[in-house]
């Protein structure tokens, strides 16, 4: 167990000061973690930008030999992956989300600061894994969508796809951790009085976004696991020759992929909704409808994945369903666009760089949205799919959309983050060059698409009529690079000699502007009480609709509080070690250095256990935290339930695949070999273990340490019996029936599904044993019963997953599947 960490002093004026490199390595302050995300994402943006320039240079002339086809494939793939997973998502959620969520909701940090640091370090090392191919084995080269079966070992024998697969798996872990943390923070850590309908719109957008992440990423994870199995264990999840269907990958990918589009665009909506009211000097128009439309967009986004797959032949009913749901999304999106326009209408506009980028976002996103509506129609989509119209569409939505929103927010929040202003003159040069160059680059792609130019081709014949627009686009793409160079110069000048910013340089409306620029480590000297939407504006001017002052905001008196009473959690190095362990496992697997995998696994497990017990008051019921949280609920309990929610989608994807593939499989069949008596016994064992688990909880709740520990050990023992039964069953299938992991579709789906459930049981057993050891040492009492309840919730979840598996897989084995 780690030594008891000391609380760090809080006298520092700014969160940026002090600590040195070690301080940044071990930081768990949400603002510093935000800065780490920003620096990483900007470096990655440079990589992604260079890749785009190389791609455009290759396409500048017909039959160009600047890049080989193989190199071109790597660069266009990495450009997409980098911009989506390593730039837009981390900037929106990792950077702005981290920096702004606690400040906007009036909290001192996120709910789980260590988990927050862990998310960042895993993100960083996931990004490095994805880019490892620069120095070893080659970069991913099958598009960001990684369509099967091109990703199979027989078609992609190099390591390229392995970096894609394992890199995305690692990044997914980071995203889900962040999402869970932000969800609990927003739901449970808002300042008093900040009801849902008083939250800043950016917080609304992130709340919806993190729900999307929690429920969309598991489907991708399952798809990636199948790909991993195919490549490393020679299974056939995406191989037609074995009766499988590559379409399965498309479904799993787009069940994640379309919500992913909203994961990228909803925070952009939120940012714009912060910038427009401030520089229009009007309250956001239609606040409730803006919030409801965001929810509706998220809800519908789960039912539209098929519009990416019209060309696969899903049938008229599916096509019509996905078409209708896709078109419906235009309604809430339209509500938002009209609300933004109405916000500006009649306002006293101040055309700062941030505002200009925000206005440009509204216009350009609308252009991208309109072509999106076209693609929702199957006949039109069939003509346009895989043409440059699609490239134009998503660059308008994400390049001129999400990226412009990020730039608007960057100019707007820079003074708060750094305490310095950016140069407005340089900013406007950046803006106008960006508007020109982005539009000049991407709008003609509509024409190229109509002229029949397919996407992803590395070169083309000279007589296709595509020469002029390709040359034009490439030249303007270089101008995009110039515009970003101006942006980086502006950042450099601001950091070195920029004008100092006041706490509220824009006369803004939300709470983050009520604290100094840059904010102190503890954010708020006294946690604010919120009585209205636009809480800071109301404090300054009396009402949401008050017109404000042309001479700037009135002075507000600083609160007089005893800063020494503010508790700041201590830094930790364990998140770095855990992330390094995961990185070692991932890269070791890819380059077949299995010693590195083992060392990575050991580092990960030991660091994770050490981090859990790092705090002397681990697992203790924090009455203050519960009583003072917004919902009156313990953060950890909200967190574990959110995790369980995410896990249901994970298991649903695994079970779906089993159900879909079992009737396509060639023998041996499930009905021939599944052992009902054995698994019936296992079912009784697992149900009994659940009883022991609740008995343990009840014992600890009444402070009965002996029986609590006894029942915990009993639960772990029954878990071991269950696992033993599973090992026996697997061995029996292997030795008696010759059913290997990759024998047929049934065997691979069965072993994967039941194996993953078994792995969850194993994790649960380890958890229970660790808890039991703590119990034996007398560390668990009624005040720490919550830690037992958390383990119990996980255990019971594993139990109910087995209830489903036992019924669908075992008892329905003779029922013909899909």
């Amino acid at each position: 167990m780690a030594a008891q960490p000391k609380a760090i002093p809080i006298e520092r004026a700014s969160y940026l000061e002090g600590g040195g490199i070690y301080g940044w390595l071990t930081t768990i302050d949400h603002k510093r973690i935000a800065v780490l995300y920003a620096v990483t994402a900007i470096v990655m943006m440079a990589f992604g930008g260079i890749e785009a320039m190389l791609v455009r240079t290759q396409l500048m002339y017909p039959e160009n030999n600047f890049l080989s086809a193989h190199t071109y494939n790597q660069f266009f793939t990495m450009h997409g992956l980098t911009m989506i997973f390593l730039v837009i998502m981390p900037l929106e959620t990792g950077f702005f989300g981290n920096f702004l969520i606690p400040l906007q909701i009036g909290a001192r940090d996120v709910a789980f600061p260590r988990l927050n640091a862990l998310s960042y370090w895993i993100f960083l090392l996931g990004a490095l894994t994805m880019n490892f191919g620069w120095i070893w084995g080659g970069l991913p080269n099958d598009g960001w969508f990684g369509y099967a079966n091109l990703t199979e070992r027989m078609y992609s024998p190099g390591l390229n796809i392995d970096f894609y697969d394992i890199g995305l798996l690692i990044l997914g872990v980071s995203s889900v951790m962040s999402a869970l943390n932000f969800f609990v923070t927003i739901v449970n850590m808002r300042a008093p009085g900040m009801t849902f309908m008083r939250m800043p719109m950016f917080i609304w957008s992130l709340l919806v976004t993190v729900i999307l992440i929690l429920l969309a990423f598991p489907a991708l994870t399952v798809g990636l696991i199948f790909l991993f199995m195919d490549r490393y264990f020679d299974t056939h999840y995406y191989r037609v020759i074995a009766g499988a269907s590559p379409i399965l990958w498309q479904h799993l990918f787009w069940i994640f992929g379309h919500p992913e589009v909203y994961i990228m665009i909803l925070p952009a909506f939120g940012m714009i909704s912060e910038v427009l009211p401030v520089f229009s000097r009007k309250a956001l128009f239609g606040y409730p409808m803006m919030a409801y439309s965001m929810i509706l967009i998220a809800f519908l986004s789960y039912g539209v994945w098929g519009h990416h797959m019209f060309a696969t032949g899903m049938g008229p009913v599916a096509d019509a369903t996905f078409s209708i749901t896709s078109m419906l999304i235009a309604i809430p999106t339209g509500i938002k666009i009209f609300s933004w326009i109405a916000t500006m209408w009649g306002g006293r506009l101040r055309f700062t760089t941030a505002y200009l980028f925000a206005i440009a976002f509204v216009l350009q996103f609308t252009i991208g949205g309109l072509s999106g509506v076209m693609h929702a129609s199957p006949p039109i989509d069939l003509e346009q799919t895989d043409s440059y119209i699609i490239v134009a569409h998503f660059h308008y939505v994400l390049g001129l959309g999400a990226l412009f929103a990020i730039l608007a927010a960057f100019y707007y929040y820079w003074p708060k983050i750094t305490g310095r202003l950016l140069n407005e003159k340089l900013g406007k040069w950046h803006f106008w060059l960006s508007v020109w160059s982005f539009n000049a680059t991407f709008f003609p792609m509509h024409f190229l698409g109509e002229l029949g130019m397919p996407r992803r081709i590395y070169t083309y014949a000279p007589n296709m009529g595509w020469d002029f627009w390709n040359k034009w686009e490439t030249l303007n793409a270089y101008v995009i690079a110039v515009s970003f160079i101006l942006f980086f110069i502006n950042i450099y000048l601001s950091l070195t000699s920029g004008e100092r910013a006041s706490s509220d340089p824009w006369d803004a409306r939300t709470l983050e502007w009520s604290v100094p620029s840059p904010p102190p480590e503890y954010n708020f000297a006294a946690v604010p009480t919120v009585i209205s939407r636009d809480a800071f504006w109301v404090t300054k001017y009396g009402s949401v609709e008050a017109p404000g002052s042309d001479t700037g905001p009135p002075m507000t008196a600083p609160a007089l509080v005893d800063l020494s009473k503010i508790h700041i959690p201590a830094p930790s190095l364990y998140p770095v070690f855990i992330a390094l362990g995961l990185f070692g496992m991932g890269v070791g697997m890819i380059i077949s250095w299995y010693r590195m995998v083992l060392i990575g696994a050991a580092l990960l497990v030991m660091s994770a256990i050490a981090m859990c017990f790092e705090y002397p008051n681990w697992g203790e019921e924090n009455e203050h935290m519960v009583a003072e949280s917004f919902l009156g609920l313990d953060h950890r309990k909200v967190g574990i339930w959110s995790f369980i929610g995410s896990e249901t989608v994970f298991f649903a994807s695994l079970i779906s695949t089993y159900m879909v593939y079992k009737s396509r499989s060639m023998g041996p069949f499930d009905a021939q070999i599944l052992n009902i008596p054995l698994t019936s016994f296992s079912t009784f064992v697992l149900l009994t273990s659940s009883l022991l688990m609740v008995l343990a909880l009840a014992a600890f709740q009444r402070n009965d340490k002996f029986w609590g520990t006894f029942w915990l050990l009993g639960t772990a023992f029954f878990g071991c019996i269950f696992l033993g039964g599973q090992v026996y069953e697997f061995g029996d299938f292997w030795l008696e029936h010759g059913m290997l992991f990759n024998s047929n579709l049934f065997s691979q789906c069965f072993y994967t599904l039941v194996g993953f459930h078994g792995f969850h049981v194993f994790i649960g057993v380890v958890w229970l044993i660790v808890m039991a050891i703590a119990g034996i040492r007398g560390k668990i009492d009624s005040r720490r019963a919550l830690s037992v309840e958390m383990a119990g919730l996980y255990w019971h979840f594993v139990d109910i997953v087995w209830v489903v598996i036992f019924t669908l897989i075992y008892l329905m084995r003779t029922v013909k599947g899909a």
Partner: protein, 115 residues
């Protein structure tokens, strides 16, 4: 682990109180007995030939009952704040949607295409 304390309380009192109303050992044992009976029924139904035509709906009903009992009593959704029920039931609905959608989509695919 969360380690934040805000300086003021504002949680509704009834929410905090709801946390401490978990059932006792006796009720847990009753639930365990019911779960055992349901499992015996499940296995029994599987072996009774005359019930084969209604095997699927019967098994689904029995599994749903077990699922609900564990979630409501062992996982305390019946006693705890409804926020937790929402956190579980919404993803569960989505999971069911994915399951049924994929089965339907692939049923169509297997009847109309080779892939």
């Amino acid at each position: 682990m969360s380690e934040h304390a805000v300086e003021h309380g504002h949680a509704p009192a009834h929410r905090v109180a709801a946390e401490s109303h978990h059932p006792g050992a006796a009720q847990y044992i009753v639930i365990a007995i019911v779960l055992t009976i349901l499992t015996v029924f499940e296995i029994g139904v599987y072996y009774v030939q005359v019930l084969q035509p209604v095997l699927v709906p019967l098994l689904i009903i029995l599994a749903a009952a077990k699922f609900a009992l564990v979630a409501m009593y062992y996982m305390h959704l019946h006693f705890d704040d409804r926020v937790f029920s929402a956190l579980f039931l919404f993803p569960l609905s989505l999971a069911a949607l994915i399951l049924f959608s994929l089965i339907l989509l692939f049923t169509y695919l297997s009847h109309h295409l080779v892939l």
